[in-house]
Every structure is written in structure tokens, then in C-alpha cells.
């Protein structure tokens, strides 16, 4: 039981970060059908900027805020200077644009920061909480709580505000949204900004648990993408579900089967799921009209 709980919490913690990355993917995909492979770099920026600002003497909350702002600025620039000019390009071209951008961001981060691993102090200390014999880091609760807050907040924003309605309209049908006067370019810029903020937040919360470096973004982006596809891309509920599921599978596979192939779990699962359900878990089956 203790081991089970231990693995459960470890899985939920990582899964929450995957879920945030997947949510970022989904948000941008809904607004534009662009799959943004630079999504993982926002997580990296969140962690790294906080670490370096904190080391320079900035209080932690302020350092975190600064990190979110930097990530948002990078996200908006990515949209303005790479995605917007490449408008109308094919899916593959856009994928390469975002991957090129992620290589660029990583390259800059490697110069501005360094190539070392860094940690942050846990927000509420390192004293583990005891639960039925399992030791749970308080930071895990921060990650889970923060992720839950983001998910709920985003949901409320989408459903209660006019701008949220505009985002949903754009996701449903971009052309129709443009016809009723929605500035879909602004919607997309917004999606990039929010995705960056969400990713950065995930990075800040999880750095005390997993450490960070300039290079953590790649694998996070790949797993976040896998999670988003697992849920059925373009479906925010699916993205969160896919992320959490992936985190749990990884954690239990590492604990019970082999920790060597922990990273393989995500991709074995995504292949098996796609073989059985070519549209993802919650994706809709499209009927082609001719």
C-alpha cells in the first residue's frame, strides 16, 4: 500500500506537468492547428529564469513572476516573428518552424544561463508528509494544486469571459469566427501567451522536485505532445487526462517493471492506443465528405 501510494503521488506530480504541457499544446492547436514543439522550452524558461533570478537575490515569488513574464514574452515573440509570418504553410513546415524555434531558444538559454543542472528550494520545506506509510513531498502538493488551479482557471476563463468565447469560436471554426468579426490573430497570440505562462508555471512548480537545465524542454515537449495526442488533440479535458495518465503509467512502470525504460512507457502506450483508436482516447471520428 505504501509503495502504491508513493508511486501514485510521484506519477501524479509528473503527470500534472505533462498535463500542463499538453494543455499548452491543445490551446495553441485549437486556435491555429499549429503543433508547437517549443512548448517544452516554456517549462524550461519557467524553471531556469526563476533559478537564476532567485540566485541573484530576487525573492522567490518575484523570481517566479519574472519567469512567467519572460516565458510569455518569448511565447508572444514566437507567434509574432515565426508563426505569423509562416501563416498558411503546411503542417510539416510549421512543425519544423516550431522545432527550429525551440532549438534557438535552447541555444540562447545555454548562453545566457549555463549547461548545469539547477535546483530550487521547495516552497514549503523538504519535510515529507506521512500518509499510510508513504512519504510525500510537500512540493508535490504544490505541483498538483497549481496544476488543478490552472486547469480550473482556464476552464472558467473560456466559459465565462467574452474573450474565452472568442477563443472557443475560433477553435470550432476559424473562418466563421473571422466572419463574425473575431480577430483570430489576436486569439492566436493570446493562445501562445497563455500556453507560455502555463508551461512556465509548470516549470517553476516542478523544479524543486526534478531539477532543471537548459535542455529539459525537448523530452517534456515530446511527452506533452504524446499526452495531448493520447487524449485526442484539440480536447483540453483529453489533454489533462492524457498527461496525468502518462505520468501514472511512467511512475508505475518505473516502480514495478524497469526504471531503465521509464521514458519508453509514454511512447509504447501512445503507439498501442493509436493502433487501437486512431483518433486518440477522446477524439472524434471524422467522416470524410466527398
Amino acid at each position: 500500500m505504501a509503495e502504491f501510494l508513493q508511486l501514485l503521488f510521484a506519477g501524479l506530480t509528473v503527470g500534472a506537468v505533462y498535463a500542463l504541457v499538453a494543455l499548452g499544446f491543445t490551446l495553441i492547436f485549437q486556435a491555429s492547428e499549429v503543433v508547437n514543439f517549443a512548448q517544452g522550452e516554456f517549462v524550461m524558461l519557467g524553471g531556469m529564469v526563476t533559478v537564476f533570478a532567485f540566485k541573484a537575490g530576487v525573492p522567490l515569488p518575484l523570481a517566479a513572476l519574472l519567469a512567467v513574464l519572460v516565458a510569455v514574452a518569448v511565447g508572444l515573440s514566437l507567434h509574432r516573428f515565426a508563426i505569423e509570418p509562416a501563416k498558411g504553410a503546411t503542417v510539416v513546415t510549421l512543425i519544423i518552424v516550431t522545432i527550429g524555434a525551440s532549438i534557438f531558444i535552447r541555444g540562447i538559454a545555454q548562453i545566457v544561463f549555463d549547461k548545469q543542472f539547477h535546483a530550487l528550494p521547495a516552497f514549503s520545506g523538504d519535510e515529507p508528509l506521512r500518509l499510510l506509510g508513504a512519504a510525500i513531498l510537500p512540493q508535490s502538493l504544490w505541483v498538483l494544486g497549481g496544476a488543478a488551479l490552472v486547469v480550473v482557471g482556464l476552464r472558467l476563463f473560456m466559459e465565462r469571459t467574452l474573450f474565452g468565447a472568442a477563443v472557443r469560436a475560433t477553435a470550432a471554426n476559424r473562418l466563421a469566427a473571422e466572419l463574425v468579426g473575431i480577430d483570430t490573430r489576436r486569439v492566436l497570440a493570446f493562445a501562445f501567451g497563455v500556453s507560455a505562462a502555463i508551461g512556465a508555471l509548470g516549470g517553476i512548480l516542478v523544479t524543486p522536485v526534478t531539477l532543471t537545465s537548459y535542455a529539459v524542454g525537448t523530452l517534456l515537449a515530446l511527452k506533452g505532445f504524446a499526452a495531448a495526442m493520447l487524449g485526442g488533440i484539440g480536447n483540453p479535458v483529453g489533454a489533462v487526462l492524457g498527461g496525468v495518465l502518462l505520468g501514472l503509467l511512467e511512475s508505475f512502470a518505473a516502480g514495478w517493471i524497469s526504471s531503465t525504460y521509464k521514458d519508453a512507457v509514454a511512447f509504447v502506450v501512445i503507439l498501442l492506443v493509436l493502433f487501437a483508436l486512431p483518433q486518440g482516447l477522446l477524439g472524434r471520428r471524422a467522416i470524410e465528405r466527398v
Binding site: 503543433v35 515565426a82 509570418p85 509562416a86 504553410a89 503546411t90 503542417v91 510539416v92 513546415t93 512543425i95 519544423i96 518552424v97 522545432i99 527550429g100 524555434a101 525551440s102 532549438i103 534557438f104 531558444i105 535552447r106 541555444g107 540562447i108 545555454q110 548562453i111 525537448t218 515530446l222 505532445f225 504524446a226 495526442m229 488533440i233 531503465t260 525504460y261 521514458d263 519508453a264 509514454a266 511512447f267 509504447v268 501512445i270 503507439l271 493509436l274 493502433f275 486512431p278 483518433q279 486518440g280 470524410e288 466527398v290
Partner: protein, 315 residues
């Protein structure tokens, strides 16, 4: 002579002339080595160009097949005492078989689902070569014995330049033949409309599988040559970034253009060599270059320039 035959001869002729002229202009061992790397990458990119450009099926995990060719060439001699050349051919065969086995379910997927499935396949190969330390040497890599053909030790940049160049020439010829055949037309047709292709009697699933296998064979062949040239293999050949490099070669050169794949491979092989002058800025500059190319020449270099040329002639 049909237009297809004319352009086939033009491209093969240009490539042959290029293969002869490069050593005259850049005779140093270093340059010949870089050129051999260009030819090898071009072979892999050609296969991917058939898959992506002709048939419109994306693969974000093609380095997996590259790695199978490379590791087979290293592992055969190490563990089974096989000849490196034989091992390489076995690796090429194995890559083809793997593509055949996983191709059908994977190629049922479309768009981003296909992208993530191929990505997963590539990453799994990468994880295996990193993790199975006892067999593959893990992250440290593994040595490849020198190729010996009938008692002749195949050594020296000139020799490898020639070997890789000839293989590229053959690979290009085969790719051009495929493009200008019934199967090639079927592949281009299903790229535009799978429904119309099927109604025209094309077995869409079979044709996708076929080109996937061809692309895997090309990549594995390139991987094997890479292993023989470098005489060392690291898990780097299987990495996600390697897959992306291959895709970028095809797209930067111009999707759907056989010549484009070769141009893209040349650019993406030579550029990092030049960027080593930038030391720490290497990655930043490479990323920036990729973004700029894709934004400003989104059709790719070869079709883009061809378009400019055609407009210039009309004007």
C-alpha cells in the same frame, strides 16, 4: 523523350559532374570527409523525400531506421563475428522488415497522429540503444571494425568519398525511376486525395507501406555507411534531433523534389560545420537559420528557386 526523362537525365548528369568536381575544388581530407557525410545524409533524405514529398506521409522518427543500419554494422562484427559489409546489409534488411511490420497500423494514422506515432517509434529505438549497454555500449557508443573487401583495406577519405558518392548516384537514379513509374504516380495521387486514388483502383494502404519500407531501407543504408565511415556509432544517430534534421533536409530542399533532398542534406550537413566557428552560438544560429528558411522559402530551396527562375524567364 518525356519531360520526366529529360529532368531525370539532367539531375543525374549534374550530380555526376558535381561528384567529379568537388574533389578538385576541395581536395583536403577534411573537406572530402564532410562531402562524404553530405552524400550519406542525402541518401537518407532521398528516402524520406519519397515518403514525405511523393506520398505525403510524415515521419518524425526516421533516425530510428538510420540507427538500425548503423548499429547492425557495428554489432554484427562485435557479437557475431560477421563481416561489417554483410552486417550492414543485414541491418538494411532488418530496417525494411521492421518498417513492413509496423507500417500498416502506423500509416493508417493521419496528420499529427502519424507524426506522433513515428516520433514514438524513433524514440523507442533511441531508448533501446541507450539502455542496452551490454549489447550496444550504451551512451558511450561502439566501435566499428574497418571494412576489408577481398583483402583490401577500405581506408582513406578519397575512397569513402567515392563509395558514398556512387551509392548516392545509384540511390538517386532509383528514386527518380520510382517517381516516374506507375507506383510513383499512385503515391503522388494518394498524397492529393486518398479517396480518388482508391477509387482509381490504387490499394492505398499497400502503397503507403511500400514507400515506408523503401524510405526505411534508404535510411538504414545511410546509417550503415555512416558507421563504416566514422568507424564509431553513438546513440546520437537515433536521436529525435537527428530525425528532425532529416525532415528539415527534405523540407528545406523542397518537399516533393528529389534534387531538393540532396540540396537540403548538403545545407544541413555543411551549415553546422561552418557554425562551429560560432562555438557556443552554434545551436542558436542553427535554430534561427531553420526558422528563417522555413518562413521565407517555405516551398523549399529547389522549387522556390525554380519558381523565381521561371518568373524571370517569363518577364
Amino acid at each position: 523523350m518525356t519531360p520526366a526523362t529529360r529532368s531525370k537525365i539532367a539531375l543525374l548528369g549534374t550530380l555526376a559532374v558535381l561528384l567529379l568536381v568537388v574533389p578538385l575544388l576541395f581536395p583536403s581530407a577534411f573537406h572530402l570527409r564532410v562531402a562524404a557525410l553530405v552524400w550519406i545524409n542525402a541518401i537518407a533524405a532521398l528516402g524520406l523525400a519519397l515518403l514525405m514529398g511523393l506520398a505525403g506521409q510524415v515521419s518524425l522518427g526516421h533516425a530510428g531506421f538510420l540507427a538500425i543500419g548503423a548499429y547492425a554494422t557495428a554489432l554484427g562484427p562485435r557479437h557475431l563475428g560477421l563481416d561489417p559489409l554483410l552486417s550492414m546489409l543485414a541491418g538494411v534488411f532488418a530496417a525494411g522488415i521492421l518498417a513492413f511490420l509496423v507500417g500498416r497500423p502506423i500509416l493508417r494514422l493521419k496528420g499529427h497522429y502519424l507524426a506522433v506515432a513515428t516520433l514514438g517509434l524513433g524514440i523507442l529505438v533511441h531508448l533501446v540503444v541507450v539502455s542496452e549497454v551490454a549489447i550496444t555500449g550504451g551512451p558511450d557508443g561502439i566501435q566499428v571494425p574497418r571494412l576489408v573487401l577481398f583483402g583490401w583495406r577500405v581506408v582513406g577519405p578519397e575512397i569513402w568519398y567515392a563509395i558514398t558518392g556512387v551509392v548516392l548516384l545509384l540511390a538517386t537514379w532509383i528514386a527518380l525511376n520510382l517517381e516516374d513509374s506507375s507506383t510513383g504516380r499512385a503515391l503522388r495521387a494518394l498524397h492529393d486525395s486518398e479517396i480518388a486514388a482508391a477509387v482509381a483502383g490504387i490499394d492505398v494502404a499497400r502503397h503507403k507501406l511500400l514507400v515506408f519500407v523503401v524510405a526505411a531501407v534508404y535510411a538504414a543504408l545511410a546509417g550503415g555507411l555512416l558507421a563504416l565511415l566514422n568507424r564509431f556509432v553513438t546513440p546520437d544517430v537515433a536521436s529525435f534531433l537527428r530525425s528532425i534534421e532529416l525532415v528539415t533536409m527534405v523540407v528545406i530542399g523542397g518537399m516533393g523534389s528529389i534534387a531538393g533532398a540532396i540540396v537540403g542534406a548538403a545545407l544541413l550537413t555543411v551549415l553546422p560545420q561552418l557554425l562551429t566557428f560560432f562555438h557556443d552560438y552554434e545551436h542558436a544560429v542553427l535554430g534561427l537559420a531553420i526558422v528563417l528558411f522555413m518562413v521565407f522559402l517555405r516551398q523549399g530551396i529547389v522549387p522556390g528557386l525554380a519558381g523565381l527562375f521561371a518568373r524571370g524567364r517569363r518577364a
